[in-house]
């Protein structure tokens, strides 16, 4: 039995034919759309490497059934930079050494973008750490990650204040 699902991925509308209902959103992105920036770590919702933003909310794409997300808007790491200009969260991760091997980084960055949009953490490092606890980093770059999120939040806050003004 074939299934059809329509997703908007990084602003582009895609209709995908699925021959199997078991395909997760993660496998669809990586294996059918060749968007391999989103990483498969544990594949069980424990590590956060597969984090993407679906309809404005950060989620674990490994625990999302693709077919159930018919009509959803998906943002992945490939869609956050604007042409040659990195996203402020990407720039902050580089500036603060928020990574070592880099495997968890796409998930960390998508989770950080989600956290900043949620607007709950403010400038409190404790709230940032708590808000990022769904993203494991086995290199232990947590100090840099926290600093990067705090700085990106400041940058993005300044940008949005300029837009309002």
């Amino acid at each position: 039995m074939a299934f059809s699902t329509t997703l908007t991925v990084n602003g582009v509308r895609r209709t995908i034919q699925l021959d199997d209902p078991r395909v997760t959103l993660l496998d669809l992105l990586r294996e059918r759309l060749e968007l391999t920036g989103t990483k498969k770590g544990c594949d069980r919702g424990q590590c956060g490497a597969c984090t993407v933003i679906v309809d404005g909310r950060r989620v674990n794409s490994c625990l999302a059934l693709a077919i159930s997300h018919d009509g959803a808007d998906v943002l992945t790491i490939e869609g956050v930079a604007q042409s040659n200009r990195l996203h402020p969260v990407q720039e902050a991760f580089i500036a603060h050494d928020g990574l070592q091997c880099g495997f968890c980084t796409p998930g960390q960055i998508m989770s950080a973008i989600g956290l900043i949009q949620e607007g709950e953490a403010g400038d409190d490092p404790e709230r940032v750490r708590e808000g990022m606890s769904g993203n494991l980093c086995r290199c232990g770059a947590y100090q840099g990650i926290t600093e990067a999120v705090l700085e990106a939040q400041k940058t993005l806050g300044a940008v949005s204040r300029r837009k309002v003004a």
Binding site: F3, R22, R57, L63, R129, E130
Partner: protein, 352 residues
């Protein structure tokens, strides 16, 4: 993962009909179900996807002061609803202490009630488990069982219910609305989950095909808003299930407790309402020694089911501490580390 038929009903009635077939399971977010299916623990032959059903994602204030929460409301959405969090702060704190931000953004209210135990022997298909495979035995009983039940367990199953959300809900007399082939019915959440007895595979009162459509909190539950906390011991600071947890809620008039609620998590196959403790607390003066007496009463029937005797004393202390924190007053804002026992009562930063 075993393959399955995928069904996307347009109405609740269609969903119930589709899910009444043997081997069918409802799919909401799937944050627990897909994990179980990947491990071969759950093997449904049909998934009935309820994500696209209308009207199940509302948080609705009821005339008279209660609230009705649709089964598809996401955990984070409920916890961040300012009106809800102000009136039911212990529920918001419990939600925010559970899982990770990503999971809370996806996981639903109905799914939280129906999530399965995290007993490692239930998850390991090579182990004997009466819950997964009735009659096969229980490898947890002679195994690594320091996190297992201390109340209401049986020889056939010593697993616990893992929910945080359900603990304050059961303390606050939440009601579950259920739709089935025979129509709509409802029951107190306290009666919704079953103790294992000799049939641990039957975890709730739901009949085949029945679906949770909403959870309600009565108006009286908001009367505890000024003195309501959730407290949870975890084996790491964040993103972990409860070793033991407690929801405490007090209605304080002058220096007296006019009404008290206490429930425990991580100790039994259901969220455990401690009514004996509530009787001791009600009508008495606010006092730390009293909180310890109430906590003793809450655990009076507790028995270790393995290497978990420590959980009984831990549960007493967490219950007494949750009552003290509730008496001190609900903080203006949910703490940076929600429900953390390491948080000072003053709300200061913990890891400065």
């Amino acid at each position: 993962m075993k393959t399955f038929d995928y069904v996307r009903p347009a109405t609740v009635r269609e969903a119930v009909a589709a899910a009444s077939e043997p081997g069918a399971a409802y799919l909401a977010a799937g944050t627990n179900l897909l994990d179980l299916m990947k491990g071969g623990v759950s093997r449904p032959s049909r998934l009935v996807d309820i994500n696209h059903l209308p009207d199940l994602d509302h948080i609705e204030d009821l005339a008279g002061g209660g609230v009705r929460i649709g089964a598809l409301v996401r955990n984070a959405e409920l916890a961040r609803d300012r009106g809800f969090a102000r009136r039911f702060p212990a529920v918001a704190e419990a939600l925010l202490s559970g899982a990770s931000a990503q999971l809370r953004n996806a996981a639903t209210v109905g799914g939280n009630l129906l999530q399965r135990t995290r007993c490692a022997y239930f998850y390991d298909v090579a182990s004997a488990c009466n819950k997964r495979d009735p009659g096969s035995g229980c490898d947890a009983r002679g195994g690594d069982n320091r996190l297992h039940a201390a109340l209401g367990w049986s020889k056939s199953c010593i697993a616990t219910h893992p929910s945080d959300f359900c603990v304050p809900l059961v303390a606050l007399d939440a009601v579950v609305e259920i739709e089935g082939k025979a129509g709509r019915r409802e029951m107190p959440l306290e009666k919704f989950h079953r103790l294992p007895g000799d049939a641990p595979e039957r975890e709730t009162m739901l009949e085949p095909g029945e679906m949770i459509v909403a959870v309600r909190l009565p108006a009286e539950a908001a009367g505890f808003a000024a003195h309501a906390r959730y407290l949870k011991v975890r084996e790491r600071t964040s993103y972990a299930f409860a070793v033991v947890s407690a929801a405490a809620a007090l209605r304080v008039e002058g220096d007296r407790i006019a009404d008290a609620r206490l429930a425990l998590g991580g100790v039994a196959a259901k969220p455990w309402r401690a009514r004996e403790a509530e009787v001791i607390l009600t009508g008495t003066r606010v006092d730390g020694a009293l909180f310890h007496r109430a906590a003793e009463a809450a655990l009076a029937d507790a028995k270790p089911s393995g290497d978990n005797g420590f959980k009984i004393e831990l549960a007493r202390r967490i219950a007494a501490r949750a009552l003290s924190l509730a008496a001190a007053g609900t903080p203006e804002r949910v703490p940076a580390l929600p429900a953390s026992p390491f948080a000072p009562v003053s709300g200061d930063v913990i890891h400065a």
